[in-house]
Amino acid sequence: MKGRNIIAASALGALVAAGCGSSGGGTTAGGGSKACKASIGIEAPITGPVAVLGQEQLHFAQLALSLDNKQNKTKITLVQGDTQLDPKQATTATQQLTSNANVLAVVGPAGSQEVEAVGPLFARATMAFISGSATNVTLTQGKYPTFFRVVSNDHVQGMNDANYIVNNLHPKAVMIVDDQEVYSTGLVGFMTPILKAAGIKVDHQSVSQKLTDFSSLVAKVTPATSVVILPWQVAANAQQFGRNLAQQHKKAVIFGTDGLFSPDAFKIPGSYVSAFGPDITAIPADASLVTAAKKYGSFGTFGPPIFAATHVIDQAIASVCKAGQTPSRSNVLAAIKNTNESTSILGQPISFDSHGDNAHGKFFLFKINSAGKYELIPG
């Protein structure tokens, strides 16, 4: 029995050593002459209720990878993990990616609640993961040492949005409806005190993301309520909310965030949408990327940050190879920490502070005109 244990322990030791070898750092035999091969993962809601956002993220990751491989002469491949914006699914996808020794870093996941679920798993695997849309403030307070994001956080967005509402829309009363997800309740938490401090009456409501009928809730919108704030991730739900408002002849304006930036699904005229990403079709330097991305169909603000995140990882892997080392999770993580891009697809620089926040992140505000088109509000 004892002998069998020793054999088992030896086998386990060999396996661990092999695992470490594949993910640990090292120097390539031929310096930079060896082909720079690696895999990166993407965690996105490729299917499920917000698949439209996940598909956009996947397409922009694929686009970034193909351009970077050509530019850097690398052979980086993409491994997909479908999260359906569900922390449980994200955990499963993360376990699959972290157990794949070829995967050195991950783009995503999309939601803050997913990051909360997978952060410890990535930390244990010493594996960098860069989200293009997880904006909860607590994610970058040191809990997850391998987490980064290329966009700003909810604190900045909540403050900007609430101040814009107070100073420009001048409501006497607002209704604010969270969708019971970490992202949504977090934003409500930042916006409510600012609105209340300005003397605005705030009616806080909460609905499940799966709800599709808002007629009962809309009946509560009083004539004094001129703004309804929807920090939601499902644009089709906000469209239905807007439809219920029109059905009951209510005049309140919808003010949405991030997930509502979907010109195909949310097009209530007069509504506002604040987003962590810009409309890259309005950035002249991005013209060639916009043309390249059009083969995937229409897109919003969720794809470009993922392009930026993928590019950061691609550049980190390329820099490791250029230094004559074999890319590993640890040296790619170190290279990502040192990222310093003077410009990006987002029209702003990217570098990370010690907790993984983009030091240059900002938010963008759009208004939907009578034709259903999103117009950027300057400032």
């Binding site: 698949a51 909460s206 599709t212 009962s216 809730l217 739900n237």
Partner: protein, 305 residues
């Protein structure tokens, strides 16, 4: 007062929808004693059928046929498709297990539910499909009394829902097929000995119940605008609850249960808070079940020992 009546209208509309789905659930349970968890997914298939009918006839903004004709085609096609699908499910998934322990068809029902949900994902993708009902049935086509607004779609849902419920009730009470259904529900073996074609009766029950789910799916698409492969789960859960509260197996009970849940949701959202809607609705339902374990209109089953 206007607010009260607005919430009443909202509750009745949603309740009519729940009732219609619950009817099919209750019918199948009455005849087979099977909790058909795939029922909500047939509702989803019906909603997709309605969406594709709109697309076939030019899309919501450029319809090539009159709106009443479009609605008739949507409802008839969805009912036929889901009815046929229901019969196929019964034939190939449930009938082979008719004499198996009850847990086997129950697990199969859950499996069918996942199968339909994922088949829809594969066929139609994960994104929302939008009906854009107001493009072809404008809100102005309804009426407004004081602050209470009722649009044409809401009126249609309630009227059609009530008509279907009455028709179904009459079918069960007055027709030969209805008598056969009641006989099979009471005692399947005795019904067979009396010469009733049990397989046909069960298939007909599945057709009718599934067709009602398909009609409810189109109604939901017209009311709520959005269709995706996952909408059946919550609808099925609400319908199941409605059927149980009303007294599972009882058709008037299913109608009452659906209306009760719809109105409870509406009034709790309106007068308490949307945050606690599900908590309070299900709390209320638990209270009902504690007082009347067989449901509001259900009958206590006596068992000879």
């Amino acid at each position: 007062m206007g607010f009260f009546f607005q919430e009443l209208v909202n509750g009745i509309v949603v309740g009519a929808l729940y009732s219609l789905i619950a009817l099919g659930f209750s019918m199948v349970y009455g005849v087979l004693k099977l909790l058909n968890f795939a029922h909500g997914d047939l509702y989803m298939v019906g909603a997709f059928a309605g969406y594709f009918v709109i697309q076939w006839f030019g899309g919501s903004k450029a319809l090539t046929i009159p709106v009443p004709l479009l609605l008739v085609i949507m409802f008839v096609l969805a009912a036929a498709l889901t009815g046929g699908l229901g019969v196929a499910i019964e034939r190939f998934a449930y009938r082979p297990l008719r004499n198996a322990p009850r847990i086997a068809p129950l697990i199969t029902a859950i499996g069918i539910s996942f199968f339909l949900e994922n088949a829809a994902l594969l066929l139609f993708g994960g994104q929302f499909r939008i009906y854009n009902t107001s493009d072809f049935i404008p809100f102005s086509s309804g009426f407004q009394i004081g602050s209470v607004s009722v649009d044409a779609v809401q009126i249609m849902v309630v009227v059609l829902g009530i008509a279907l419920m009455i028709a179904l009730q009459q079918l069960v009470v007055r027709t030969k097929l209805g008598k056969q259904m009641r006989a099979v529900a009471a005692d399947r073996e005795a019904a067979e000995m009396l010469g009733i074609n049990v397989n046909f009766t069960i298939a007909a029950t599945f057709f009718l119940g599934s067709a009602l789910a398909g009609v409810a799916g189109v109604m939901a698409g017209l009311l709520f605008n959005q269709v995706t492969n996952t909408i059946g789960f919550l609808a099925g859960l609400k319908a199941f609850t409605a059927a149980v509260v009303g007294g599972i197996g009882s058709l008037p009970g299913a109608m009452l249960g659906g209306l009760l849940i719809g109105m409870a949701e509406s009034f709790i959202t309106g007068y308490v808070s949307s945050t606690f809607t599900n908590l309070l609705v299900f709390g209320l339902l638990i209270a009902v079940m504690l007082v009347r374990p067989s449901g509001l209109l259900g009958q206590v089953q006596l068992q000879k020992v």
